[in-house]
Symmetry: C2
Subunit: 435 residues, 2 copies
């Protein structure tokens, strides 16, 4: 059986009309997916993946995924599923395409979409959810999925194997707990910058009532507004609930330090993306200055090499990996192992389109078979767009429910693809007044 | 007068057939340009720019440039030329497109191509070469061209103005010297990895005869080969000529240190790209270990924020800016000012397609009106593909001849565009055996 096609789709949701997802840097996102399906000779077996974008440029991202076609079409499905790392190395290693990064931006996210589709395929073929496939896999095999180039000063293959072996001790107990309780979540739904104070207060109270122990507020556009909104949110949730704040890269280093200190009276748990995701040394300076407020970043961190340095420089307290920003599951395994080595908790970025669906698998693998704990670990949850997915993320009592369907949960419903394909899907045609 | 169109071209040269440009990471590059022309109401006035790529993916880069069309078409030419920074801020600031970076990879290089085309337009309209336009401009105006976001912990606007004011002292003397002598160059032509030892030796001797005081060799694929090639090159050029080596990101940090030490007997002047361009801390570790061999990088450094950290961490001895990797002239002004502030010499990356044509303007501005010196400063020169440009780079006595034609020298000849457009240009049609 072979991979017979790589099909791409430009899918866009008109989220900007409700100010869902609005923050200090992204006032009007149209949550979108550059979506890919790897089809096989078996019409029941396909692998799905995507890059999340916020609108314009989704077509460029789709084009970038498309030029990877020749690397995967025609490959043997059994071989690919037995070693997704071979696909990852092949895609990352294309020397001509590498020039367009290397390992960053549009081209690297395209690699990530295809690599994630391969893992979706592998987990479906194995008949298990991805987190379970990874947790049950041999540590040597998992360690071989990782590209150690540029990592060996912080993480070697033998260290990875040792961490994975240690992580498997008593894993049956954790797996049973995970299935029973799920994985802790926090919610960003109350905190979008475009929401009124009344809506913020109402949603923050609802978050507590729904069982969440952490919420998050967008900040960074106007300090007086932020003071007012943080005060309202803290009043709504009380002192026991963790309240993270997120500046979405709005500040210079000095501004970040001043702004966070001005909000300290509201006891923020972490400050997220205080400055450029590229600024390792800047994050280190901010962390030193704003403690005990923790520093978090990661959703825009381009690859394992920058995460390595954030850890080496003691620049972050919380590592926020993203399922669709880096080069797919293989690179996220490297990032999870780096975090385990340095003892930094991973709290994945989610929301957007389909990110909640994906990252739960990574955190659940981390809990069951690597870090072995959920202490100070939460996955972001945003209640948007889940209805478009075949195996949607669900939260119960403030925890992600553990997925049981085979795959990586990247698969979008055919109706949703048809409706929101841009510019010729049913929704967009109707939006333009076309029949 | 307005900008009436943004036209894009996918131009590819079949350089892989001669192993020109081969190195340890890029065995078979087809030097290419994702090329853009901004046309105006005046058919004699247009602005040209491009991203350099090495083949596959050039179409994705062209698509990325194309989606910037609405940001520039229709804008007033006089306003744009009076403040190219307004275009730069507009393009970098598009929040939806920013998600695809931010400020890195395909989307950021697309911004750079368009911004450079704007500067080409501005310099042509002013009737002067770009280096002269910048050198003669008011320091306050130049300082206003820069985006200080994420820079202020290392460079503020007032510091930039002071550096530019200081740089202008006695600039008439340097301008006259520049026009008389040109700007020092070094050549990479002898050192491509795919060349035989005989060709390497012959070209190295020719480089000395041609007046170059520095050559460069590609290394990193095989240590025994590198020892043999470095020995041959050092024998060919003698002890007085500087010999740089370039690993094109081939190594981990530990490997880089060992490999450079193994080649130290041949007195390499700098080691270029010893590891990932993203690894600021890795470069700092390598630099500390291999001194007195200098550490150089920059051609793949994504933006001013990473350059800032390379300087803050004392990770490099030589800063190799690239004209077409970052967000265009505006960001390169920031990078030149950072280098001036930290006292690190700038030795631009060139070669490829058209990079020699562009970077000479940046170094010449730096000499005349910013750093004020050419000591330990050289521009890379590779004798490839200059015949396709309207104002080609020329080297005489080991120095770049100072360009005098109006513009940024990005303009490619119409015949070359028609011949090498991919896939339907005359060359590529003939190559496929089509009429």
């Amino acid at each position: 059986m072979r991979i017979t096609s790589l099909d791409t789709f430009d899918i866009r949701f008109p989220t900007s009309r409700e100010l869902d997802g609005s923050d200090a840097m992204n006032p009007d996102p149209d949550y979108s997916a550059a979506y890919v399906i790897l089809r096989t000779d078996d019409p029941r077996l396909s692998g799905h993946g995507f890059t999340f974008t916020i609108g314009r440029g989704n077509d460029v991202q789709v084009a970038a995924i498309g030029i990877l076609r020749d690397h995967v079409v025609g490959r043997d499905v059994a071989e690919v599923c037995a070693d997704p790392g071979s696909v990852s190395r092949d895609l990352v290693g294309d020397s001509q395409l590498r020039w367009l990064g290397p390992e960053k931006g549009v081209m690297h996210m395209a690699v990530g979409a295809v690599v994630n589709a391969v893992w979706d395929l592998a987990a479906k073929r194995a008949g298990v959810p991805l987190w379970k496939l990874l947790a049950d896999a041999d540590p040597e095999w998992v360690a071989d999925q990782i590209d150690y180039r540029y990592l060996t000063d912080a993480l070697t293959r033998s260290e990875a194997v040792a961490l994975l072996r240690r992580g498997r001790q008593d894993m049956e107990i954790r797996e049973a707990l995970l299935i029973e309780r799920g994985y802790p979540a926090y919610t960003t739904s109350p905190g979008w910058l475009g929401y009124s104070d009344e809506k913020l207060t109402r949603l923050a109270k609802k978050a507590v009532a729904d069982g969440f122990s952490q919420i998050k507020l967008k900040v960074g556009a106007d300090l007086a507004d932020d003071v007012r909104r943080c005060r309202a949110a803290r009043a709504a949730v009380g002192p026991a609930i963790r309240m993270a704040i997120d500046a979405n890269q709005r500040w210079n280093v000095g501004e970040a330090i001043e702004w966070v200190k001005a909000l300290a009276e509201f006891d923020p748990y972490w400050i997220e993306e205080p400055t450029s995701p590229d600024d390792v040394l800047g994050h280190a300076a901010i962390r030193a200055a704003v403690a005990p407020v923790k520093v978090a970043t990661g959703e825009h961190v381009q690859n394992r090499i920058v995460f390595k340095q954030l850890l080496q420089a003691e620049a972050i307290d919380v590592l926020q990996l993203d399922a669709a920003r880096v080069g797919g599951v293989n690179e996220n395994l490297a990032i999870l192992l780096l975090a385990a080595k340095f003892g930094v908790p991973v709290c994945p970025h989610a929301g957007g389109v389909g990110l909640c669906e994906l990252v739960r698998h990574l955190s659940m693998f981390d809990y069951v078979a690597l870090s072995g704990t959920t202490t100070d670990r939460v996955i972001e949850y945003v209640d948007h767009l889940h209805e478009h997915f075949a195996d949607p993320a669900r939260v119960r009592n403030g925890c992600y429910v553990t997925p049981t369907a085979p795959g990586f949960s990247a698969e979008m419903l055919p109706d949703s693809i048809a409706t929101y394909s841009y510019p010729d899907g049913v929704f967009w045609r109707a939006d333009r007044g076309e029949a």
